[in-house]
Symmetry: C2
Subunit: 109 residues, 2 copies
């Protein structure tokens, strides 16, 4: 899956502003492992912020170390819609493959 984490993070943040550490576990909804590498998550968040898709502010309230609260921007909503189109297309391509693969297997019977 190519950069699949990016649209998932965008969607999760669009649903509800969130922290990086929290997003790490919420990514499991989309089939990411529960042992998800933190590095990937934070790097993706950093890139999205550099692109202007999300914005963050430090949150020092609550216990434990300071954490960044991420929110989606209007630009980010646009990126998310684009990702929706890309993934719809990818889903169609995979579907074509799987259909043809299934046909091939049946012919071998």
């Amino acid at each position: 899956m190519d950069r699949f984490m990016e649209p998932c993070l965008l969607l999760l943040i669009a649903e509800k502003p969130a922290y990086g550490y929290e997003l790490m576990s919420r990514l499991q909804d989309f089939g990411f492992g529960d042992d998800q590498d933190p590095g990937m998550v934070y790097r993706n968040l950093r890139r999205l912020e550099n692109q202007g898709a999300i914005e963050s502010q430090w949150d020092t309230s609550g216990s434990g170390p300071a954490r960044r609260l991420y929110e989606i921007t209007p630009d980010g909503s646009g990126y998310l819609r684009t990702w929706g189109q890309i993934l719809t297309r990818n889903s169609e391509r995979i579907h074509i493959f799987l259909q043809r693969f299934k046909t091939l297997k049946e012919e071998l019977v």
Copy 2:
């Protein structure tokens, strides 16, 4: 799409032995561009052959430059089945994303 060309080439060759140049255009079935980069195709074929998934023999009959005829091996059939599982799973993950994305959009109305 991550390495999506590899299973597509395997499937096409499994359906019928083929030449690289021919496969370049047949890849369009799976949404690859008609201006497909030859480099990627030949590198993928080379890798598959190194992995033992396919075998080739030079074909000097016919007009034009010599060409390699690729055929799938038993190992290659195994790889193809594995790819089928991987892509089924990826398709499910994308489906989850698209469903949730759709839900989010509807809530915004």
